[in-house]
């Protein structure tokens, strides 16, 4: 097949910093969710 005309092969990838920022936000959110559950959730046997 012919090469794409969208120049994607020469375009720089989104920076690793962008991905780290996205994943960092996710981890912070999950930590908050874990804290929230620990404080407010009463388990079935709890």
């Amino acid at each position: 097949m012919e090469e794409s005309r969208d120049h994607s092969s020469t375009e720089p990838d989104l920076s690793a910093r962008t991905y780290l920022l996205v994943l960092g936000l996710a981890v912070v959110l999950y930590l908050l969710m874990g804290w929230f559950t620990a404080v407010f959730q009463v388990r079935e046997n709890g």
Binding site: R5, D6, S8, A26, V42
Partner: protein, 606 residues
């Protein structure tokens, strides 16, 4: 619905459908029809990615899930941000290197034509099954509103969507998705605000959290599994649950959810097609990052609305019906005229609801560090009893007048004596009606114009999800299979005509599937379950292409079939939660492809 609600509903719907049809004239070739001429801006593609996943199902099914089961379902999405980054880094470069229209075209270059066709066929089967369920979601809402049969609604939704998708192609899909996404988020935010105002106004923010937590509705992240036995149970045995039975916890959500979403966004044509409409690889990546950041908060919001609905119904029992399915409720009211036992059960239901409201207010007013154990126990018992009675009433409801008279006296006796086992037996006879919880709330509590807007948004959302799937099914059929069966060269105009015909035929088939797959259980879970049977193998073959240079030729087919076999064997013989199927399928692909490569299969045939 009031006339103003009908007006808003009709106007919004007409605008969305007209805009979809307007795109008919923009498509001159298959690349326009299936890839929007690669001119769609990244933010529109990103919103479309979200909208395709967050459809009417998200609103109806997930709010119902939050109402009944709490927020634990959000854990199924924990792996999503990681999956989005993985798709961006690993798969986008593979897809954007070539001018492909389906993800499976890549597999032909990397392996061989049979591998491409097998993967594409797997996608067609899985999506066709899910398509029927996607069409059902808005049909439930419309059936509720118009007091019509669900089957009639499925036919209307299916045919209307098929009509404009056939004409407009992927551009129509993306731009209607953008509109519906804005409408859905706006509608949900309004509902969230309304419920917060009502609930927090009566029991306060802290009181609401205490009451929801005491009812076990706030398990947003269960870091400690409830079951720690690491040996999976054999299917059909009565052994105590193992770690692998837990549907949602941190581990199944992060690992199983990662594989599910990696496969969904990276190997399912209905999502990859969105990625292929952007001009460059980075535009595609940016589109995916929107979901990576916004999806989990959005799920939290939707499930949160479900929990707030539970609190609202608990605080104000006089503003909630005994069951949410209006057909079942209507039938119960009619039956109660002649069945004295049912009248007593309905009175018992009202008494327990009042008790739940009283206990909830006591709990909410509690200001100390530890909740009083008897108060907590009384509240939880009332929550459980209302829930059981709802299921029992659904079991006894007889809209068609075809069932034997229900044992209402037995129900009353079981509650009088506190016979938990008997109550559970009665409750297990009833189906759920959680998909009616949100529509019932919208219709009974919100102002007329907003009812019209939210129902139109739900309807448009559903159509936009259905059209995404229709368009991608058509793309896989026309691009992957058509040239194999019909080898004659065709002009672009002829190919476009074939594409439109194929979209139309898939629409008809999907509508028929929707009618035959009717069920009352949670819609969203069903979709994820169906996907999980196939997604692991689909993802596995793409990962094999990216990371296993030793796998060539027909090894790909061995891998896909082996991965599928692993999932079905797990389903048949072991008791394992569905999120893990994705991991098992992907690992199975590598295992069987490796075995095939070791036997020299790929070398001999390729």
């Amino acid at each position: 619905m009031t006339p103003i609600a009908w007006l808003v509903f009709g106007a919004f719907l007409a605008w969305v459908v007209a805009d979809g049809v307007r795109r008919t004239f923009g498509a001159q070739s298959l690349e326009d029809y299936y890839a929007g001429g690669r001119k769609i801006p990244w933010w529109a593609a990103g919103l479309s990615v979200m909208a395709t996943q967050a459809s009417a199902i998200t609103v109806i099914g997930t709010t119902g899930q939050g109402h009944d089961g709490g927020m634990e379902f959000v854990q199924a999405y924990l792996g999503l941000p990681f999956a989005m980054v993985a798709v961006s880094v690993i798969l986008i470069p593979l897809y954007r290197r070539l001018p492909i229209l389906t993800a499976y075209q890549y597999l032909e270059g990397r392996f061989d034509k049979p591998t491409r066709l097998t993967a594409s066929f797997l996608f067609l089967v899985s999506r066709c099954l899910a398509l029927g369920i996607v069409i059902q979601a808005p049909s439930y809402v419309l059936a509720t509103v118009l007091e019509q049969d669900v089957v009639t609604m499925i036919i209307i939704v299916g045919l209307l969507t098929t009509a404009y998708t056939t004409l407009g192609g992927v551009s129509a899909v993306v731009w209607t998705d953008v509109k519906q996404m804005i409408a859905i988020v706006g509608g949900l935010l309004f509902c969230l605000g309304w419920l917060c105002w009502e609930v927090f106004g009566q029991v306060g923010f802290g009181g609401a959290l205490r009451a929801a937590g005491a009812a076990s509705k706030l398990g947003v992240l269960e870091a400690t599994p409830a079951h720690t036995d690491l040996l999976p149970n054999i299917a059909g045995t009565q052994a105590p649950p193992s770690f692998w039975n837990e549907r949602y916890n941190l581990f199944s959500g992060l690992i199983g959810g990662f594989f599910l979403h990696f496969a969904y966004f990276g190997a399912d044509q209905s999502q990859v097609q969105r990625v292929l409409t952007s001009a460059t690889a980075n535009e595609s990546r940016k589109a995916l990052m929107i979901s990576a950041v916004a999806k989990v908060p959005m799920q939290l919001m939707v499930l949160g609305i479900g929990v707030l609905l539970f609190l609202f119904h608990s605080i104000s029992p006089d503003r909630a019906p005994a069951v949410f399915n209006p057909q079942a409720m209507g039938s119960l009211e009619r039956q109660a005229e002649s069945e004295s036992g049912l009248r007593e059960v309905l009175e018992l239901h009202d008494r327990i609801e009042q008790e739940r409201a009283r206990e909830l207010r006591n709990l909410a007013a509690h200001d100390g560090p530890a909740i009083d154990a008897p108060a907590l126990s009384a509240y939880r018992e009332a929550v459980r009893d209302v829930d059981s009675l709802r299921k029992i009433l659904l079991a006894g409801a007889d809209p068609e007048g075809s069932k034997a008279v229900f044992d209402w006296t037995g129900v009353l006796k079981a509650f009088e004596t506190g016979d938990e086992r008997r109550i559970a037996e009665f409750a297990s006879q009833g189906g759920g009606d959680r998909n009616y919880v949100f529509p019932s709330f919208v219709l009974s509590q919100l102002p007329g114009w907003l009812v019209g807007l939210i129902l139109a948004a739900i309807f448009a959302a559903a159509m936009s999800s259905v059209d995404s799937v229709l368009n991608s099914l058509s793309a896989a059929t026309v691009v992957d299979f058509f040239p194999v069966v019909f080898r004659r060269e065709r002009t672009e105009r002829q190919k476009l005509k074939i594409g439109r015909t194929c979209t139309f035929l898939w629409g008809i088939l999907g509508t028929a599937t929707g009618i035959f797959a009717l069920s009352d259980s949670s819609i969203i879970e069903q979709i994820n379950k169906i996907g999980s049977f196939f997604y692991g193998s689909l993802l596995g073959i793409f990962l094999l292409g990216a990371f296993a240079p030793w796998a060539r030729g027909i090894c790909g087919v061995f891998g896909i079939v082996g991965g599928l076999a692993c999932v079905f064997a797990t389903y048949l013989f072991l008791d394992v939660a569905y999120l893990w199927f994705n991991v098992i399928g992907a690992v199975g692909v590598f295992l069987f492809a490796w075995l095939a490569a070791r036997c020299g299969v790929g070398r001999k045939i390729a």
